[in-house]
Symmetry: C2
Subunit: 172 residues, 2 copies
Amino acid sequence: MTKKPTEPANGHPPAARQVPMRDFSRSLPMSLLRAREAVMRQFRPSLREHGLTEQQWRILRALAAIEAVEVTELARTAFLLGPSLSRILRDLEARNLIERKTAKADQRRSMVSISKEGLKLMASVAPTSEAIYAEITRRFGARKLAELQEMLGELERSLAGLGGADETIAEE
Amino acid sequence: MTKKPTEPANGHPPAARQVPMRDFSRSLPMSLLRAREAVMRQFRPSLREHGLTEQQWRILRALAAIEAVEVTELARTAFLLGPSLSRILRDLEARNLIERKTAKADQRRSMVSISKEGLKLMASVAPTSEAIYAEITRRFGARKLAELQEMLGELERSLAGLGGADETIAEE
DNA sequence: GCGAGATACTTAACATGTTAAGTGAATGCG
DNA sequence: CGCATTCACTTAACATGTTAAGTATCTCGC
């Protein structure tokens, strides 16, 4: 074991850089993607054991903190797009982990809440999840973790209102 | 400043916190997800105009820096899973943006390279992409950006070899 | 009140993420 | 050699990301 399967011979490519660009592997999006994947890799197995995906878990967590929410608000909280949320809610409802009822005042809105079963499932997952988070904090350092999150928040804020496109309001 | 994470007197939801957990919206995975989305939101419209998705763009960028690579190595570089890459390469090849040829020495491997057309497309996208990156850097600050990326790298490294599960080597 | 427009979702369609299984080609070992 | 194992990829199947279109409901001006 620990055998090198294939030696590419070249430690690094001889490079034929034909288009001038930053080193791709060091771009901000890639850094963020890799960091997030490194973190999520820790959680996924545990969630999987409980039959939950990352997104389903996000939804349950968001619901556990409140009585009930509209779908749109839940989408914002769990950071999911409407269509994704719509599908997931359908499945979670079929599994009796959440409940839905249309609002009285506005028949368009539907109020979502976590069910007793959903709470039970959460209670069974939470300890492991918290332990993993604690281990990550221990490894990386609580102070640095707080700093990192602060920077991420700043980054987010500094890009707010720079909507990439179709952000032209009241213009033609 | 230096506000405690869990403010009991939060002006947010009436709270029916039934399962003890961290404030979900401030978890590390969510911070990373939101930050990355804030960044990618800037690039997607431009890529879309050129008929490229984020992942296709990653592949082209990775290919532009070298002569040719095996699929597995490309997957590592572009941070894509094999199946995703396999599909995308099929499409990029159909659009004549890349070329493939099986290696002589090992018929299993296929060497992928960017085509002349692919390079032309890249050249047409790169300026806008670089401009967006520059604007992000300007807004957030070059120094802070470097710091952030350093921290993200540290986070990644500190979690390496903590494979969440099925990481048990030489065991049964 | 009523019809145009706005809202809150949902469906649809296509691309990717993710895991498992399949296929053909090399390798290692008896 | 023979053949089980390993490799490098590809397919398959299901879940989500992403954009566009559809549906029912509500709001508002006239």
